[in-house]
């Protein structure tokens, strides 16, 4: 259903642009800004699903029925996590294919280089640019989802998990620009500075001197901490739901 909402939205944008625009834009410029909007939506949807996945079982009490099956707690947690990741992956892949097919159909396929339309500094075709774009966004998406999943497993309350995760993603993310201009060393290690990997595609990083490798390393460390904490808490704590 969430996927349906998103696809309907981008369909409206494309059809609207096609009908009401005075000139015919390149399919890639429509593609570009639809991706920006859609990824915000995908992130929100995935966060909701991830935040609810463990916490809702606790709220409803069904976690007890899951845990008294002949499976280890780690495996039950893993299956929940895999479901979240698959949800994120499905949305990303479907979105890419849908945007590609729909915009090519409406605006005509454009095989020009990305630098002509959307990313002046990028070398390569626009189609490849967007594959890379989606891949980077997907990495950020996984880290965000893992964070929401951790909050879900640690706090065990669906409302709190969704609220806190969305707050971190929407509010804190919009202050990232503000943080980025602060001249402190620790700002380099903030998670939110690194969630926008697409900045490296256009060649203008948020903070001076940041590289893709460094961002990936920071994200990697956060990811490992999230997973370890989730796993540890879920395995050790008593279930009193």
């Amino acid at each position: 259903m969430m996927l349906g909402i998103m696809l309907l939205l981008v369909l409206c944008i494309s059809v609207g642009t096609r009908l009401f625009s005075n000139y015919l834009p390149s399919m890639w410029s429509v593609f570009n800004w639809e991706s920006v909007v859609s990824f915000l939506l995908i992130t929100v949807f995935t966060t909701i699903v991830a935040a609810g996945s463990v916490a809702d079982e606790f709220t409803a009490g069904t976690i007890k029925l899951l845990l008294i099956r002949p499976w280890s707690r780690s495996k039950i947690l893993l299956s929940k996590y895999v479901a979240v990741i698959l949800f994120a992956l499905l949305q990303t892949v479907v979105l890419y294919l849908f945007l590609l097919a729909m915009n090519a159909l409406l605006f005509g396929y454009d095989s020009s280089a990305a630098s002509d339309t959307i990313a002046p500094l990028y070398k390569g075709t626009a189609a490849v640019y967007f594959i890379q774009y989606f891949f980077y966004e997907f990495i950020s998406l996984i880290v965000t989802a893992t964070m929401a999943f951790m909050i879900s497993a640690v706090f065990r309350s669906g409302g709190l998990a969704i609220g806190l995760s969305l707050f971190l993603i929407l509010v804190v993310n919009s202050f990232v620009g503000l943080f980025a201009i602060l001249n402190y060393a620790w700002v380099d290690y903030l998670l939110f500075i690194h969630l926008n990997l697409v900045q490296y595609l256009n060649g203008t990083p948020l903070r001076e001197g940041m590289t893709l490798g460094f961002s990936l390393a920071v994200l990697g460390v956060y990811y490992v901490v999230f997973v370890a904490l989730t796993w540890f808490v879920f395995n050790k704590r008593d279930v009193a739901a």
């Binding site: 409803a60 007890k64 029925l65 845990l67 008294i68 099956r69 002949p70 280890s72 008593d238 009193a240």
Partner: protein, 329 residues
């Protein structure tokens, strides 16, 4: 109850039949189980053996530690000390083997409300190998949910949820069924149904059943044996004799009479010590024959007898005696 663990070793659970009497390794062994949360001791050195094939009651006032014990038995809570073995497997060290033999409802029968009862069962069946569709149908029939099984759980009454909970718990043919306060929130008809149904399960499928409750009268009707705990400590384990006309045994009888003083005198003439029980009744220890004799004597002496009834000492009385009548809800 003999423990064969020493003689035959671990994990052996064959049943030896001796003149209709079944002897085997206990299905559950709690050994010096202790649970502390912070500084508070919830369960204190609890040891208990559950015999195979019985309906075993776990009785105690609210807050005595019943649910905590059950949570530890199914591995939802860790043990501070001691050991729990189910069918010979340790719940802490061999969790998956131990839990394989257990079906449980812990507190309320919570299911996925947005799924139908049938979808819920399929979901749980998938988590255990080799449960066929036929088995699901069989269980649905067994708990009597009928065609309502395909409705959303949201629309179920508490009684139906309880049934679905039981269905979920017996899906994989467990040797042990653990039910935490199963009669909570059920109406009298529902309670009666559940009771009959559990007894039938124990009898027909040979499942051992462990039921916790604070409802004394209920336990008395449902169980073969009852353990009583208070403040996390085991107070007593006792068998419950099934109701029957045991004429030979001496019981306490209450005579409703017209004249209490005279009646006591008449009883004393027969060599029986009677005591007043309220304004218009006397109580006396007697067996069947003696009751008839006493009655005849009363009538002869001109004492009107309005009623005679046997006063079985109920579990409630025993329970109150043991727990000192305090903190019982």
């Amino acid at each position: 109850m003999l423990s064969f663990e020493d003689a035959v070793g671990y994990n052996v659970n064959y049943v030896i039949s001796e003149g209709g009497c079944f002897i085997s390794q206990p299905i559950v062994q709690l050994q010096n189980v202790t649970k502390r949360i912070g500084k508070k001791t919830i369960i204190n050195d609890l040891s208990l053996d559950l015999p195979v094939g019985e309906v075993f009651g776990f009785l105690g006032p609210n807050g005595a530690g019943k649910t905590t014990t059950i949570r530890m038995m199914v591995g939802l809570m860790s043990l501070t000390g001691g050991e729990i073995k189910i069918d010979g497997y340790s719940i802490t060290k061999q969790y998956q083997k131990a839990i394989r033999n257990v079906g449980a409802i812990v507190e309320n029968p919570e299911m996925y409300k947005y799924l139908s009862g049938y979808q819920n069962l399929i979901h749980f069946a998938r988590m255990i190998p080799d449960i066929s569709d036929e088995r699901i149908e069989e269980v649905v029939k067994l708990v009597g949910l009928g065609s309502r099984i395909h409705d959303k759980v949201r629309t179920y009454s508490l009684g139906m949820r309880q049934r679905l909970g039981v269905a979920q718990a017996i899906l994989h043919r467990p040797k042990l069924l653990i039910l935490d306060e199963p009669t909570n929130g059920l109406d009298p008809a529902g309670i009666r149904e559940l009771r009959d149904y559990l007894r039938q399960l124990a009898k027909d499928e040979g499942i051992s059943i462990f039921v916790s409750s604070h409802l004394l009268a209920e336990m008395e009707l449902m169980c073969d044996r009852v353990a009583i705990i208070q403040n996390g400590k085991l107070i007593d384990v006792r068998g419950i004799k099934q109701q029957g006309d045991d004429g030979a045994e001496s019981r306490r009888f209450v005579f409703e009479v017209g004249n209490v003083v005279e009646a006591i005198t008449v009883a004393a003439q027969l060599g029986q010590k009677a005591e007043a029980d309220g304004q218009s009744a006397i109580a006396i220890e007697a067996d069947r024959e003696l009751v008839a004799k006493l009655n005849a004597a009363f009538v002869e002496a001109g004492v009107s007898v309005y009623g005679i009834r046997a006063q079985g000492k109920s579990l409630e009385d025993q329970f109150l005696e043991m727990t000192g009548g305090e903190q019982i809800v």
